[in-house]
């Protein structure tokens, strides 16, 4: 295990950024563990959410932003709902993902790819084109076996469209993304 | 030397002994930092505060007046703050007709246990007074404004009689 030198490795700016972007006071956390106790994803996490909170308090930016956990949080709000100190933990997790993206980190790349594919689909059509999204995801990740088993189940139901439902205002939606990129780069 | 020029404004507080003065003490015991402008006059009960004290303080040039008593129903004397609430509300609504910004006066309730609330009240109120800036006294109305209003009056304002 690594020894953390708290005098040297405490990243004050990181703590402030997390607090500012999430609007949460992380020092309210007294490590009761209720978030971890309720989190359905704890089994899949590399660092349980209460320890993520602890590491944020401790200013351990690198450990936090390179964790898998922040990509596996589904924002199910169990932690936020039950926190005795009314910290919006799910929002903190969201903000950590934002920061990881900015740092170019994605410890569970296929999750990020799936989300990106989803947003690409929205950007292109104004709405999600479900089949297109899946194909895009498979192409990007090379995980061609994804949900192969489900094809025979769902295709006969006639629910999945083979063509996107483009909306008239899709240009507006695309402009939202363009402006967002411009704002984030400026 | 009293008001630190450029730093402080003259803010006068009237606090009841049992709740709010105690609340300010609690804030002190808790070392809850506050702006230094406020000067507190201790009275036994908010019901002792004749609204004319506040009017006089403001007319005589204070920049702000803050009154605080026990929460309604918690008055040490059972009813003082109920009378105070009516009288202070009437005064607050009276001030603007005299040419005094009603935001220069506020009244609230802080209990002896509410040190943090007191800190907040003082901080918010002091910031509010600083946002308004130093008060003008009737004596010191600018000649331009006086001339403007005087000519409006002489020009047939009915109130001039």
């Amino acid at each position: 295990m690594n020894i953390i030198n708290l005098t040297r490795d405490y990243d004050e700016d990181f703590v402030h950024r997390v607090e500012e972007e999430s609007g949460q006071n992380v020092s309210l956390c007294y490590q009761c563990g209720n978030c971890t106790a309720g989190c359905p994803y704890t089994f899949a996490y590399d660092i349980p959410v209460s320890q993520i909170m602890r590491l944020v308090q401790a200013g351990q930016k690198k450990t936090v932003l390179s964790s898998k956990s922040i990509w596996l949080c589904a924002t199910c709000e169990s932690c936020t709902t039950r926190c005795p100190n009314m910290i919006d933990v799910a929002c903190v997790m969201d903000v950590l993902r934002h920061m990881a993206r900015r740092e170019g980190l994605a410890a569970v790349p296929q999750v990020k790819t799936f989300w990106d594919s989803f947003l690409d689909s929205v950007r292109a059509h104004g709405r999600v084109f479900e089949l297109g999204l899946l194909i895009n995801y498979v192409t990007k990740t090379g995980r061609f076996w994804t949900d192969m088993d489900l094809g025979p189940k769902i295709l006969p139901k006639g629910k999945l469209a083979f063509k996107p439902h483009d909306i008239q205002g899709k240009e507006h939606v695309a402009r939202i993304f363009e402006r967002f990129e411009r704002e984030s780069n400026s | 030397m009293p008001v630190l020029t450029g730093k402080e404004l003259r803010i006068v507080g009237f606090l009841c002994n049992w709740c709010s003065y105690g609340g300010a003490d609690t804030a002190g015991v808790g070392r809850f930092n506050q702006p230094t402008d406020l000067r507190i006059i201790r009275v036994p009960c908010s019901g002792r505060i004749d609204p004319l004290f506040i009017a006089k303080t403001l007319i005589n040039g204070a920049d702000g007046v803050l009154v605080s008593g026990c929460h309604p129903r918690d008055c040490h004397y059972a009813e003082g703050n109920f009378y105070a609430r009516r009288r202070l509300e009437v005064l607050k609504r009276f001030l603007p007709i005299l040419g005094i910004d009603p935001a220069r006066f506020d009244y609230t309730w802080v209990s002896a246990s509410e040190g943090q609330r007191w800190q907040k009240v003082v901080t918010v109120f002091t910031e509010q007074i600083h946002a308004l800036g130093p008060a003008t006294r009737h004596e010191n109305v600018s000649p331009e404004l006086l001339a403007k209003v005087a000519s409006a009056i002489q020009g047939g304002n009915r109130v001039a009689a």
Partner: protein
């Protein structure tokens, strides 16, 4: 009887949750709740948007809220909890002027604000009411044991969603009970099913959804009624994956609560859309109803 409300079906309503959309429309029409389609609505951004950026997420949602405002309506109903969360979050965050200014910068025209978003479940509860629902029943769901599963974000966090109890919600239970069904107390009503990790992490979904199906069997449910397209997909379409991963043998029908309502209201089969589900609820349903007779 009740005023009109804008209707936001959500992207899946055009695809994987078509039957949720058709049954919702049919049920609301039967109960006199007038749903008005939002012209040219776009995707709310769902989870992928908020995991990327909160302003982007709010802008994608706000475009739709503004469309509702343009219709002259004050509220929109959506069947999908994920859409609901995004629309409500956008509204909530836009109450802070600096945040709203950032959102407006991304939009063609600034969002006027003040459009409320509610779930179809909430609209049925508050705008139609249990009494009306009860009196409209034609075929009571007598003898049918249903576990009501609300999903993780329908009621959470309570400060934002402001509807029903966040730990033990009852709105769906009450409606299906009014329809004559026997609702069984389901302890994992708000536990997460695995959400959108079906594609990138099917193992996670298999474990979480497996737990839910196990609990539903444990409380003796004939079927699990759901209110979320993603939950439905994980529990129904992926039930095979769950069984394979956990060595189980679930065959649990997972209809939308609106489909069950539609049955009770004698709505036409094509609008109910049971055929679009993987585990067909009809055998269990007819058996239960027959026994009850």
């Amino acid at each position: 009887m009740s005023e009109a409300i804008a209707y936001y079906p959500g992207c899946s309503g055009l695809g994987t949750s078509k039957e949720y959309d058709t049954s919702t429309r049919a049920v609301c029409a039967a109960l006199g709740l007038s749903l008005v389609d939002i012209p040219d609505w776009s995707c709310c951004g769902s989870s992928p948007a908020h995991t990327k950026d909160h302003v982007l997420s709010a802008a994608l949602a706000a475009r739709n809220l503004q469309l509702v405002s343009d219709m002259g309506l004050k509220a929109a109903a959506t069947p999908c909890p994920s859409c609901l969360t995004n629309l409500r979050t956008a509204n909530h965050r836009c109450e802070a002027a600096p945040f709203k200014a950032k959102v407006d910068k991304l939009l063609d025209d600034p969002y006027a604000g003040g459009v409320n978003a509610v779930s179809v479940l909430q609209a049925l509860t508050e705008m139609v009411g249990l009494d009306t629902v009860k009196s409209a029943v034609r075929t009571p769901l007598k003898g049918l044991k249903v576990a009501c599963y609300y999903g993780c974000i329908m009621n959470r966090p309570p400060e934002l969603m402001a509807f029903d109890d966040c730990e033990n919600p009852m709105a769906m239970d009450n409606i299906l009970a009014a329809m004559g069904a026997e609702v069984v107390p389901f302890p994992l009503k708000v536990e997460c099913c695995g959400a959108s990790y079906g594609i990138p992490r099917p193992d996670v979904v298999a474990k979480l959804s497996g737990k839910l199906l196990d609990a539903a069997v444990g409380v003796g449910a004939d079927m699990v009624a759901v209110a979320c397209p993603l939950c439905q997909m994980n529990l129904d379409l992926r039930q095979g994956q769950v069984n394979r991963a956990g060595g189980t043998n679930f065959r649990m029908p997972v209809p939308y609560f609106t489909q069950l309502m539609a049955v009770a209201l004698n709505i036409a089969d094509e609008e109910i859309g049971f055929s679009k589900l993987c585990v067909d609820p009809r055998p269990v349903l007819s058996k239960a109803l027959a026994v009850a007779d």
